[in-house]
């Protein structure tokens, strides 16, 4: 079947082509399509019966006709050739080189859809990764094998935050990052892609990075393949070559929008905001490829970047993502406008795996309590700030005024830090205590009395 070209297209529109009279085509099979200009396009079978086969064309159906379109069924799923040589390379969304160098040749070609990891084979992520960013390390820490997205909005510096994490992330006790980076951009602008490329270059890690780029002006349907190709490469690096892989994917919103676009063409029943009902499962197929496996050295830590449409965290894309990922780092416009970098809004941010990766044996005994106390004190301080906005700061009690001062200092000094400032976890925790010491010890009930005695500066009276 592979060698035969069929010219039996009966309809073509919106990226989908129907082929008639090709019996026995396998579901999910890859397709090569040659148009009248001799250009080769690729696609995938999404529905198959003896009398009609529905093909999704990644490059779209623009400038196709029915009469001069030849289709070849390759009889295998989409596969990515893999070898050690992918490091340092730049590919397009379907794995073709876009750096002008020859394609990767390898007998090892893997189905980009992957296969679900057996839950019994997973190892629970417990190793604390120091990112050098206090708002993350101190309060929403990342562990090796975790999937922790950055929820952002248009115009917020999520790319810079992601790049800083890539530059600084390392295990405690490691001199420098041992990570290999897989970077996937879909629907990204040329400027964004260039920003990351330059950032990797500057930090001298370019030969440890694999990039998969599908830019904003490239076929939408290819976007569905881009993260899958990138994750297939990541799995190979992590579980075949024992590397610790950091996957950065941006922007998940562009991915979900591409999925919606294709779903509408396929005629799928919409659920929320026109997104198909399987958006959750589809996102999970991607996110769940992060993790660790028992008896394997490597790991996949994932940082998807996602811009929340109109900064709305309840929009289906961030909402469903939040249900799958192990927490989220939320960037906020208010802090960004005040010039705080990184503008991490800590209260809605969360790391679900933090409880098992910090504290005694991992970072420092007091870490979990300090984090909890910072959350509680800052939440209380924001209430006071709300009150001050109504009744005026001069009407506040002394205690409340101190709380207000704490909030300001916390935002400026703890959350805010330099883009090249790499704080150790001890520096982060010491800073936390310095700030908590602005508050009276009896109001700090999330930390133990012993910890108060040891770390509280006792200055507040």
């Amino acid at each position: 079947m592979k060698s035969v070209e069929y010219r039996t297209a009966t309809s073509a529109q919106g990226g989908l082509v129907v082929m008639a009279g090709v019996p026995g085509v396998a579901a999910g099979s890859r397709v090569q399509l040659r148009d009248h200009a001799g250009r080769i396009r690729s696609g995938q079978v999404i529905r198959t019966a003896d009398d009609a086969v529905l093909v999704e064309v990644f490059e779209g159906t623009d400038a196709l006709d029915l009469e001069r379109t030849w289709v070849r069924f390759l009889d295998e799923p989409f596969r990515l050739p893999l070898s050690r040589d992918i490091l340092g390379r730049v590919f397009d969304g379907t794995g073709r080189p876009r750096d002008g160098r020859p394609p990767v040749i390898s007998a090892d070609r893997r189905d980009v859809n992957g296969e679900p990891l057996n839950p019994a084979a997973r190892a629970y992520p417990r190793e604390f990764i120091q990112t050098g960013i206090s708002a993350i390390d101190g309060m929403n820490s990342l562990t090796r094998g975790q999937k922790l997205p950055i929820f952002s909005g248009g115009g917020l510096p999520h790319n810079r935050v992601a790049a800083q994490i890539v530059r600084q992330a390392r295990l405690l006790g490691e001199a420098s990052a041992e990570f290999v980076v897989v970077f996937a951009a879909f629907g990204a602008s040329h400027a964004d892609a260039r920003f990351f490329q330059e950032s990797f270059e500057e930090s001298g890690v370019l030969n440890k990075v694999v990039m998969f780029l599908n830019l904003a002006d490239e076929p939408v349907i290819e976007r569905l393949l881009t993260p899958r190709a990138a994750l297939t490469a990541a799995e190979y690096l992590a579980f075949d070559l024992d590397a610790h892989v950091l996957v950065v994917m941006t922007d998940m919103t562009a991915y979900a929008e591409a999925l919606r676009e294709v779903a509408v063409l396929r005629g799928d029943v919409p659920a929320r905001k026109g997104y198909p009902g399987y958006l959750y499962s589809d996102l999970a197929e991607l996110y769940e490829r992060a993790g660790r496996i028992k008896n394997r050295r490597g790991s996949i830590t994932m940082i998807p970047v996602l811009s929340m449409p109109s900064d709305d965290i309840t929009h289906p894309i961030p909402d469903l993502t939040g249900y799958i990922t192990e927490g989220q780092i939320v960037l906020g416009r208010e802090l960004a406008n005040q010039g705080v970098f990184p503008p991490v809004t800590v209260l809605p941010s969360l790391s679900r795996l933090m409880k098992d990766g910090v504290g005694k044996d991992f970072t420092r005994d007091d870490h979990p309590h300090v984090a909890s106390q910072l959350f509680a004190s800052y939440a209380r301080a924001l209430e006071v700030r709300g009150l001050a906005a109504i009744i005026g700061a001069e009407e506040l009690s002394d205690a409340d005024r101190r709380t207000l001062a704490f909030a300001d200092a916390f935002e400026r000094r703890f959350i805010g830090q330099g883009e090249d400032e790499d704080r150790s976890i001890h520096e982060t925790l010491d800073l936390a205590w310095e700030l908590l010491s602005m508050l009276p010890p009896e109001s700090l009930i999330r930390v133990s009395e012993a910890e108060l005695a040891k770390y509280h500066k006792g200055a507040a009276t």
Binding site: G24, V25, A26, A27, G28, T48, A49, D50, P77, D111, N113, E115, P116, L117, N118, P119, A120, A121, R122, A123, G145, D268, V269, A271, R272, G277, Y278, Y280, S281, A284, Y287, E288, I293, I313, T314, H315, P316, D319, G322, Y323, I324, E326, G327, Q328, L347, L350, K355, P368, F375, A376, A379, L387, I390, I391, E395, L396, E442, I445, R446, E449
Partner: protein, 599 residues
């Protein structure tokens, strides 16, 4: 033998005459399994439990002759199964880290021999009926597995194997049925998951399920055999709360169904359960626990099946006379799987794309909970706790609103509380329990007759403080009277000293009913003592400065459930802390410093 006509995602159209809806089918060269969901002439529509990539029209298909069933017998406890009861540990050993398609591994291990002890009451020649106990197998240290006669079997016991070691497939007995046929009995039997297992009659639920979580047990109790829902937006701590319940509740068997959730969460349960001990029996928790895992990246049709597999396993242990808790995380993912298949079938969507039968399916599922008199005349119960994941935390969405009509206990999780790291983030205003009256009887009998009134007093205090907080948010705390300020402070004490409970703190993680009540009573005592003083004219400001208030907030994590005497002593010492102020204000009919009382 039939063949495949069309493949569309997880749905395949088959040429397969004379098949029954619900029947299992095996299709294609890989031997993928699924179930028939529709018939049209000689064609059948089936949904497959595995990914269909690579399947082609023209490949073979066959009906297996039975509906989706589970194997029930020794070997269930401590295991982790997928959504169609494949044992994931064995699958891992056989097919590696990734779940290969078409893997066929029996649910119960065939090579393990169990020590079977026949029931002395069973003799050859005696009559047997479904649900009777043939004998027992000590499956784990704490659980004795009762070997049951399959529910629909009835007749004369011809022979029963003597005490000894048997594998699950060995014949341990024979029964002559009413029609003269002879049926063989084994240590296990199969049961179709979509059919509720029969029982003699429903019983009243009487005892509360003790979870060790104060906000649940003390404020919004659930009974053994009851139905509860935990709705909450992401990040509100749903999973943590469910894991806490699975860990500490006083059920004899816990079935944890991870339906469309994270892989790492199940790994967490798998890794942590064997290390934790059951506070009620002192045995490792894994001995009473069974996991069903269809994580979010596993095929969607098996996800739909997984909660039925879970509830059938729960009913099987109920039929042995056990109190079983099943935690389903999350019923929303199950509903979404239903929606996805309905969408592919082209069924008319009603709300948010869900099919019209969503409500009735949910109701039928929750009806499988309950306390019953079993066929053997024992008492057993299935308590169902379903997590709901409302999109955007919107409780008016279809799954949450339908669920709310069905269940009796509603533990609403709040994003605001979670953001302030108030855990468990159970919202005391949104939550409710229809079981308070029944629970009150138990608490009065087993813990303290004052439970119901203390609970009401605390809830009143919380409601009043909510009202006052609104005023404070508008005009500031200075506008409140002394009594009001004290009320606000006491409510804060209840929230921090009682409602907040740390799952990661070894002492605080579990609180016995006695500890829960003692803590509640102590904090209310502080409130009453303070109120007395405020009414005597003491300024609330001075009361708030009492060190007792900061100290009382720590009691929960200072004294474990086995250290109640110390807590009792602290409670008894409460009046002492107020004594100096009482001296000062009781002696003067009027305020000692004019005007200070007004502050």
């Amino acid at each position: 033998m039939g063949r495949i006509l069309e493949i569309n995602g997880p749905l395949v159209r088959l040429e397969l005459p004379q098949t029954t809806i619900g029947e299992q089918v095996r299709v294609g060269r890989l031997g993928l399994v699924g179930e028939v969901i529709g018939r049209d002439g000689d064609t059948a529509l089936a949904q497959l439990y595995e990914d269909t990539a690579g399947l082609r029209p023209g490949e073979a298909a066959e009906g297996l002759g039975w509906p989706l069933s589970v194997e029930l017998g020794p070997g269930l406890l401590g295991a982790i199964f997928d959504g169609v009861q494949r044992p994931l540990q064995a699958v891992w050993e056989q097919s590696g880290d990734r779940i290969a398609r078409g893997v066929a591994v029996p649910s119960l291990p065939r090579d393990v021999r169990w020590h079977f002890v026949p029931d002395p009451a069973r003799r050859a020649g005696g009559m047997l009926k479904g649900g009777d106990v043939l004998g027992t197998v000590q499956e784990t240290e704490s659980i004795r597995h009762r070997i049951l006669v399959p529910p629909r079997v009835e007749g004369e016991l011809l022979e029963l194997a003597p005490e000894g070691d048997y594998a699950v497939e060995e014949i341990i007995g024979r029964v002559r049925l009413a029609d003269g046929r002879i049926d063989k009995l084994q240590l296990f039997h199969r049961w179709p998951v979509r059919t509720p297992r029969p029982f003699r009659q429903r019983d009243h639920a009487v005892a509360p399920l003790i979870t060790g979580q104060r906000i649940l047990d003390t404020f919004y109790p659930l009974l053994k055999g009851g139905k509860a829902a935990i709705p909450g937006p992401f990040g509100a701590g749903k999973t943590m709360l469910q894991q806490q319940i699975a860990r500490w509740c006083n059920a004899e068997i816990v079935i944890y169904v991870g339906c469309g959730e994270r892989g790492n969460e199940l790994t967490d349960v798998l890794e942590s359960m064997p290390l934790l001990t059951d506070p009620h029996t002192g045995r490792p928790l894994m001995e009473r626990t069974l996991l069903v895992a269809n994580t979010s990246n596993m095929p969607v049709v098996a996800r739909e099946a997984s909660i039925y597999v879970g509830i059938t396993l729960a009913e099987y242990f109920r039929d042995q006379g056990y109190d079983v808790v099943m935690v389903a995380d999350s019923t929303s993912r199950w509903a979404e799987a239903l929606r996805e298949v309905a969408g592919r079938l082209g069924q008319m969507p009603v709300e948010e794309g869900y099919p019209a039968y969503l409500g009735s399916r949910l109701a039928a599922f929750y009806e499988r909970a309950g306390r019953v008199e079993t066929l053997a005349g024992d008492h057993g119960s299935v308590t169902l706790i379903g997590a709901v994941s409302p999109p955007g935390g919107d409780f008016s969405e279809p799954v949450t609103s339908h669920t709310k009509e069905i269940i009796q206990t509603f533990w609403a999780l709040s994003k605001e509380l979670a953001d302030a790291r108030h855990y468990p983030a159970v919202d005391w205003l949104e939550s409710f329990s229809g079981y308070v009256k029944s629970a009150a009887k138990w608490w009065a009998q087993h813990v303290d007759p004052a439970w119901e009134s203390a609970r009401a007093e605390a809830l009143d205090l919380l409601a009043a403080s909510e009202e006052l907080q609104r005023i404070v948010n508008l005009v500031g705390v200075e506008a409140l009277s002394g009594e009001q300020r004290w009320t606000l402070e006491a409510a804060g004490l209840i929230k921090e000293g009682l409602l907040q409970q740390s799952a990661v703190d070894a002492v605080d993680s579990f609180a016995s009913p006695e500890k829960q009540f003692m803590l509640l009573a102590a904090l209310l005592e502080i409130h009453r003592q303070g109120m007395k003083l405020v009414r005597l004219g003491a300024p609330a400001r001075r009361l708030i400065q009492l060190p007792l208030l900061a100290q009382a907030r720590r009691w929960k994590s200072q004294h474990g459930s086995d250290d109640l005497a110390a807590l009792q002593a602290k409670r008894a010492a409460i009046p002492d802390a107020f004594e100096p102020l009482l001296q000062e204000y009781a002696s003067t009919a009027a305020p000692s410093v004019p005007g200070e009382a007004a502050l």
